[in-house]
Amino acid sequence: MTDKKAKETWVEIHKILLDKGKRAPQVPQDTREVPLEMKVKGFLLHEAALGDKVEIVTVAGRKIKGILSSVNPSYDHLFGPPIPELSTIGREVREILGQGRREES
């Protein structure tokens, strides 16, 4: 049974804009070997399931068709763990400044 999402659900669609043979002449080889893809978010205009061909309306009022690729897509960019190569910089420069201040006095 497919999990249908209701009309008005906030989703992302995916679409190929240019197939790999149709890319601009100036792109380098590695880019030419892959298609130009697009992802856009908007509200579903009708009930649909993931992978369906759907139509959405964006917040700018455009209606666009594509494959339903994500439902209520998350923002998942992170800071991630601390970087050890940065962790001691503060201590190092404070030490330099501390010495400088003692010499000045």
Binding site: K22, P28, E33, P35, L36, E37, H77, L78, G90
Partner: protein, 473 residues
């Protein structure tokens, strides 16, 4: 009417789409065979500095604090020769509504779009400018579309651009995210044609005039506090707008002796349109991938005549390394209590090195900061770099290799700038300009003076270079 949407068909309609979406008749300003009336084109918008200031005031853009970085100056002096180490100031542009100086750049476009009755405003940008346009559109009650180059063919988003997607969407904009490639511009044209939105290009006169207030403001702030203009202003350099607008503002304030330095992150070896290199840059702007091509030929932009013409204003052009920018970002947070994004910190690295060449009583100003946050931060970038197989290590930053090794200095004395030979850039610009000369035609007197102004040089210099490289470059 049925329209063709192949790459070639859409690009062929560029002139018409641009005229409609920017509302400027660029050909009006043509003078010689290759020259055009640059000042006339800017003045033709009808905005003078006072009007721009009023427009920006109405949305709380500008009037940002000028901060003296006393601890940063002390650190520079600790590694300088005796008597050296200029006072370092920074213009805290992160205090603008969307967190960067780009609000200045977007403000006139939003104002113009509303005045002229456009239904909305669109921009092709993956950086802070998108957030600025979206924020200004929200204030003006206009629809907004931002087109970004956002992810590679593996679906991996560049973290800084992912943060920009979120910010633009937070301001109520539609964000069109594309995979890697210069055809972003192709899709942008389709969007402009479909929507009839105003093209808030980074390179229109509106965009550049909006930055003039930054240079003007900072020079007046320094003069008020110190009784004189700054000796040096450093701007992070990419497409040229930041350098151009700031320098023009300095000149309008009367700071004619202030030296304008452009600084970029050195990304030599990485291809800007490469799907593979996309997530190996660690920097999305302010780097040589933009600054070198745009300095040597500004008219590669999305408008017929680029209003950002940095070579007219640069007194010096330097590069710094990725590792040095991450280092100084950490230092700024830890000794100045200011956590800011990488763009302003690129010019801060340069200022830290240049201050050491200058006497202690001199003043050097870094003209921007930008907001920071998840993705748009050394942690997000360096974690991604490690995942992409790039070595991250401490050492002499001279060993930094973009795409292979990010070398974070072990000591502030290792921070230095590399000079970009401006004469090499000028020659390359002249060669590019000559290639646009119609076949069989000779440069007019007007063209020669134009080239001298474009390269901040002289008629004699232009003649000498043309003699050397031949009339067709």
């Amino acid at each position: 009417m049925s329209r063709e949407f192949s790459y070639e068909a859409v690009m062929a309609r560029m002139g018409e789409i641009m005229r409609t979406s920017v509302g400027i008749d660029y050909e009006r300003y043509d003078t010689g065979l290759i020259s055009f009336d640059y000042e006339g084109m800017l003045a033709g918008t009808g905005y003078d500095l006072e009007t721009i200031r009023e427009v920006q005031d109405s949305t709380s853009v500008g009037n940002t604090p000028l901060v003296e970085l006393r601890n940063m100056t002390a650190l520079a002096r600790a590694v300088s020769a005796p008597g050296k180490g200029a006072r370092i100031f920074v213009k805290d542009e992160a205090a603008n509504p969307s967190g960067s100086f780009k609000d200045r750049r977007a403000s006139l476009s939003a104002h113009e779009a509303r005045e002229k009755g456009y239904p909305g405003i669109a921009a092709a940008t993956s950086g802070n400018y998108g957030a600025a346009v979206a924020s200004q559109a929200a204030k003006a009650g206009l629809g907004c579309i931002i087109v970004q180059e956002a992810f590679d063919s593996q679906g991996i988003a560049q973290p800084e651009i992912a943060e920009k997607t979120r910010a633009c969407e937070a301001y109520g904009a539609e964000v069109i995210r594309l995979s890697v490639g210069p055809e972003l511009f192709y899709h942008f044209l389709i969007v402009l044609e479909e929507t009839g939105f105003f093209n808030a290009s980074l390179y229109t006169p509106y965009s550049i005039l909006g930055i003039e207030t930054l240079g003007h403001e900072l020079s007046c702030q320094v003069r008020e506090r110190e009784g004189r203009f700054p000796d040096v202003v450093v701007a992070t350099h990419a497409g040229g707008g930041n350098v151009t607008g700031t320098a023009r503002g300095l000149l309008k304030a009367g700071a004619t002796d202030t030296l304008m330095v452009a600084a970029s992150v050195d990304l030599v070896g990485l291809h800007m349109a490469s799907d593979r290199d996309f997530n190996r840059k660690s920097f999305t702007t302010g780097h040589t991938g933009f600054s070198i091509p745009f300095s040597t030929w500004p008219d590669r932009a999305d408008v017929p005549r680029n209003a950002a013409r940095s070579l007219r204003y640069m007194d010096r052009f330097v590069t710094v390394t990725q590792g040095e920018v991450f280092y100084i970002t950490q230092v700024l947070a830890e000794i100045e209590g200011m956590e800011r994004g990488p763009a302003g910190n690129t010019s801060l690295v340069a200022a830290f090195a240049l201050a050491q060449e200058m006497d202690e009583d001199r003043i050097i100003v870094v003209q921007e900061t930008e907001y920071t946050g998840a993705g748009k931060h050394p942690l997000g970038q360096l974690n991604l770099a490690k995942e992409m197989g790039i070595r991250v290590e401490r050492g002499d930053p001279v060993k930094n290799r973009p795409g292979e090794a990010i070398v974070i200095p072990e000591h502030p004395s290792q921070i230095r700038v590399a000079e970009v030979d401006l004469n090499r850039i000028r020659r390359s610009y002249i060669r590019n300009a000559l290639q646009t000369l119609p076949h069989g035609k000779k440069l007019t007197r007007e063209d020669l003076s134009f080239l001298a102004a474009e390269t901040k040089s002289s008629l004699d210099y232009i003649k000498e270079v043309i003699h050397e490289i031949g009339p067709k470059g």
